[in-house]
Amino acid sequence: MPISILGISAFYHDSAAVLLQDGVIIAAAHEERFSRVKHDDKFPTHAVAYVLSEAGLSVSDLSAIAFYDKPLLKFERLLETYHAFAPQGLKSFLAAMPVWIKEKLFMKKMLWDEFGKIESGELSRKPPLLFPEHHLSHAASAFYPSPFDEAAILTIDGVGEWATTTIGKGVGKEISILREMPFPHSIGLLYSAFTYFLGFKVNSGEYKLMGLAPYGNPDGEAVPRYRQLILEHLVDLRDDGSVVLNMAYFDYATGMKMCHNQKWQVLFGLRKRESESELSQEYMDLALAIQQVTEEMVLRLAKTAREITGCKNLVMAGGVALNCVANGKLLRAGIFDKIWIQPAAGDAGGALGAAFAAHHIWHDQERTVNPNGDDAMRGSYLGPEFSDLTVQRLCRKHQAPARYFADFGELAANAAQLLSSGQIVGWCQGRMEWGPRALGARSILGDPRHPEMQKRLNLKIKYREGFRPFAPSVLAEDAGLYFELDTPSPYMLLVAPVLESRRTTPPAGYHSLAMYDRLYHLRSDLPAITHVDYSARIQTVHQQTNPRYWQLIKAFKELTGCGLVVNTSFNVRGEPIVCSPEDAYQCFMRTEMDYLVLGNYLFCKGEQPKWHEGGNWRERYELD
């Protein structure tokens, strides 16, 4: 019998489930993709049922179940924090206690009850239930599936139990945590506090802050001034990368919000930005300042990791590891020879790490690294897939005309032709991605050369803020023709500059121009994916891991000479990325997308019957 381990993350944000068999990832999925609730934090009922179905297992068949953190240790942190800050935080304390006393303290019972529901009754056998620490789960998710036999491990996030950042070392199947930074001092929470102050949603808007930062004026006086204020008043950044936050400015330890607005407003001379209000230059400058400070922290931590581990390679996880701008700078700093980042670096990835920790540490199983140098993520295409039959049923249900292509090459050529003529194509193929990024299995695609593509995608398809950038998917072998990048970036976790030779000369006073003047200035021959600072968040597409997507981009290149496409996640603002063909067709019909490819079928919007839907569908998705 193989060793089958179920990994779970739940009850905080981004619930997920993973099934591991003999150390091989069989399936991994986020609950939000099934429940259609973004960042769903509930027990991952659907995701668990799905991953078990991939191996034909029931809960009773499992060798172990691993939950991604230690609830009692978290409770200890909560009590000690309230004790330390008392009498402050009484209101928040009284509000937090019922959740713990009624539910979270009894995590084991809660989990068994949920598993019982999945099995529709009593479990015939209860597998061992394990609780690896939060940052060990992150560390395990970074190291075990990486292509390295030995590596330094850096995990940075908001907070787990106590730890907010750890430096560790992985050798073979062993992981040692060497240094740890405890709550409330946290790089992730510092970044989230700025996310909050800049009017974005905590735990989801951090990406927007990162996308906004390049609009800051690096030549102006404001950015260095804000940086200085941050480093003098908010955070004491030490040489080794550790931080001590000045808690007089933060409210998250015992309060209901991230920071003390009044104090921040006095410090920066700026009002807290209201959600969805106009973005003035001051906010962009502040975003750039905190992004630069974060990059400095990550670089110093990486240097420390290199010094104390002596390793040549680095692996990373934790929410801050999704900061692909910082990752790109870290790569170019050359502190490590190679860097590998877990594609689901946030809390969902904890499910994967918990399962790996159970396999290699608790079950004491040996680990072998792929001799060909590949990681163990299989392109991160680890979710559900669908058959032609499912698409046929969808066509019948909606009376939707679609053209079937027996030859996929012909379909790829057709889709490439459509893209080259400026059409926007929904692309749904094979197994769904694991992690927050769409990687060409559930993506919306466009022509990166098109000057209006960025605007059109943001406003007519995604219905999101106009300033947000789009990412390119480039043939792995062609990445060097477009970007200053000499390493694979299959999970879209590295930002690199667009080659100088592809850029246009910026107009005089470029950084002083208004936001939308800068945005709509054609910065390169690939305007849709060149951000205002001439960078791009790159996905390298590999024939081995996603042959269909690779074939499409290859066909696009044969047609246009351009070996990349615009890739954005297949969803609208506030909606989880689509999972099933039904989700994809719904999203296709609700937006101004022109074509949809589902497996071997091509749907043309102009040929579809009128879409009827009760109520305003946009109200179903809370803005993120």
Partner: protein, 49 residues
Amino acid sequence: MDFLKDLWDFMKVRKKFWLLPIVIVLLTFGALIVFTSGSAIAPFVYTLF
């Protein structure tokens, strides 16, 4: 009972016996709060806890 055993083991490992009176008071008063209000929905925008 499973929970009480886990809690005792946890305090032994972490050497945090000073938490015991806090936990007892909390559980007692917390039980009152919970069973009189009935709602146990996390009030936070940020799920730190």
